[in-house]
């Protein structure tokens, strides 16, 4: 809520270079124009395309032909930014005044030769028609020895846009009103953004856009109780997951699977790494540092609340019932399997543990005590803690607790390539239906500090470099998802 009001007050920008293909497809939506905003700044994925690089020639629609029908001309990639390319029509030489940004994954970009194969003649832009009398000589000279896209480029793009989740599939997802438990939800039809076709891509056909799911909690009659997340989010699981690991779960009252509904197959979900729990392992009460799931800007002092040393040998219901009965008889706490932990934020915990949050032990969102100090990050002390400034040594002594051993945490740092200042499209995880223009402002190993452009720093979020909620520039345009432009405030209007 804090952001949606602000975003809705912003007027989206548009430009002719950005919207030509939308108009061609009959879809008219105003979209934020990354082109002007990017300038010379560094952009995520700018150098990450394999066979697509600066200098590669493509055939694209000629928007300056003066003809009533669609014709094409050859353009050269000047710069790459995420999915977007800055293009210059052949014949403009060093004249950059007509350069234009285009998403490379829209259907109307082709390898050189595509037009001839379809019997379409290439037509030079009107602006430069007078420059050359012999276009054949010019093109032979310009194109010989240069690179073009592979012939299967378009089909590879289309292939990559197939998503396995379908509308009415049932999943288990974290209950947003009680973080400590999961609920059943259904993949639902997407209700925001453009509906229709962009070129060959049909939007919102199966309730999935670019891997992002809008889930409606079961037992919600009016379909408004929703939850947005990516299909690879650690917050969603297959039906039965909660039971299999001993996680709290909100049962649906009398709801039966209706016609057309099916449980999403287990192989569709992100897999967690298997962990060796046979030796030293997390124990209830151990202290650590964790990203606060309710305030992703903060890394807080936290406590392990539930763990389980070993996974049960069988996941059958009968065995689990027996296990629960055994636990209850021995007065043992109910615990989690498969390397999952419940984490409570010190000083903010509800008495009944309803705000404990489930993190896997390999999660990049939990850290050993001292992580913030070593990396010069402000650690949020327990609410109401009197012994400020916070010192771990004193705190452990006062709370008669121990820190979780450092070697139990995920220390892998992928060669992610992010650098401070890079622009990207990022989900506001506090309002996860919104994908926003954002900047990487800080990098600590694999952890990225994401700033939402135009917003106060207090809305920044710590996000893992492999998060499914970070996208390259142009992702929203590619998938038809509405990109939230930078907030325009009095101070930043210029």
């Amino acid at each position: 809520a804090r952001k949606s009001g602000g975003y809705q007050q912003n007027l989206p920008h548009s430009s002719s270079s950005q919207t030509w293909w939308l108009f061609n497809s009959g879809v008219s939506v105003d979209v934020f124009d990354w082109g002007r905003y990017l300038g010379d700044g560094e952009v995520l994925m700018g150098k990450s395309w394999g066979s697509v690089s600066e200098g590669v020639r493509v055939e694209v629609p000629n928007t300056d032909s003066g003809l009533p029908m669609k014709v094409y001309w050859i353009a050269s990639i000047i710069k790459l930014a995420g999915f977007k390319a800055l293009l210059r029509y052949e014949g403009f030489d060093s004249d950059s005044t007509r350069d234009f940004w285009l998403n490379l994954c829209v259907p109307d970009i082709h390898q050189v030769g595509w037009c001839a194969a379809g019997g379409k003649p290439l037509v030079p832009p009107q602006t430069i028609l007078h420059r050359f009398t012999n276009w054949k000589t010019f093109l032979v000279k310009r194109l010989t020895g240069s690179k073009t896209l592979p012939p299967d480029f378009s089909s590879k793009v289309k292939e990559s846009m197939q998503f396995p989740f379908k509308k009415q599939m049932r999943v288990e997802v974290v209950d947003k009103t009680h973080l400590c438990r999961t609920r059943v939800a259904l993949v639902e039809q997407v209700s925001v953004g453009p509906v229709g076709w962009i070129g060959r891509f049909r939007l919102h056909d199966d309730g999935v856009i670019g891997g992002r799911l809008r889930l409606i909690y079961e037992e919600c009659d009016d379909g408004t109780d929703d939850f947005w997340c990516h299909m690879y989010s650690p917050l969603i699981h297959s039906i039965g997951w909660s039971r299999s690991i001993g996680h709290r779960f909100k049962r649906s009252d009398g709801t039966r699977k209706l016609d057309g509904q099916m449980d999403a197959p287990g192989q569709l979900f992100a897999k967690v790494k298997e962990v060796d729990q046979t030796g030293l392992w997390f124990q209830d009460g151990m202290k650590l540092e964790a990203i606060d799931p309710l305030n992703l800007s903060a890394i807080c002092v936290a406590t392990v609340r539930k763990v389980r040393r070993r996974r049960s040998p069988s996941r059958s219901v009968g065995r689990l019932k027996l296990l629960r009965l055994t636990c209850s008889l021995r007065r043992l706490p109910q615990v989690l399997a498969d390397g999952y932990l419940m984490i409570g934020i010190d000083g903010s915990e509800a008495a009944d543990g309803s705000d404990w949050f489930c993190y896997h032990s390999t999660s990049p969102s939990i850290f050993p005590a001292g992580f913030c100090e070593i990396n010069n990050i402000e650690l949020t002390p327990p609410r109401g803690y009197a012994g400020l400034p916070f010192r771990w040594f004193e705190y452990l002594k006062e709370s008669k607790s121990v820190a979780a051993p450092v070697n139990l945490f995920n220390k892998e740092v992928p060669n992610h390539g992010f650098r401070p200042g890079m622009k990207l499209e990022a989900v506001d995880l506090m309002e996860p239906r919104l994908v926003c223009v954002a900047t990487v402002t800080r990098i600590v190993h694999r952890l990225l500090r994401i700033h939402f452009d135009g917003w106060e720093d207090e809305y920044d979020q710590w996000v893992d470099c492999e998060s499914p909620d970070l996208y390259p520039v142009g992702w929203c345009q590619l998938t038809g998802y509405q990109l939230q432009p930078p907030a325009v405030t009095a101070g930043s209007r210029d």
Partner: protein, 32 residues
């Protein structure tokens, strides 16, 4: 190249209003 892609020289057909001709260009065999 460094990404393990094989680049191949290809005769590419071009059609303009003046007629058809071909040029030699490079294309990757694997768009990752």
């Amino acid at each position: 190249d460094a990404g393990g892609r094989k680049w191949e020289q290809k005769q590419v057909q071009i059609k303009t209003l003046e007629g058809e001709f071909s040029v030699t260009m490079w294309a990757s065999d694997d768009n990752k």
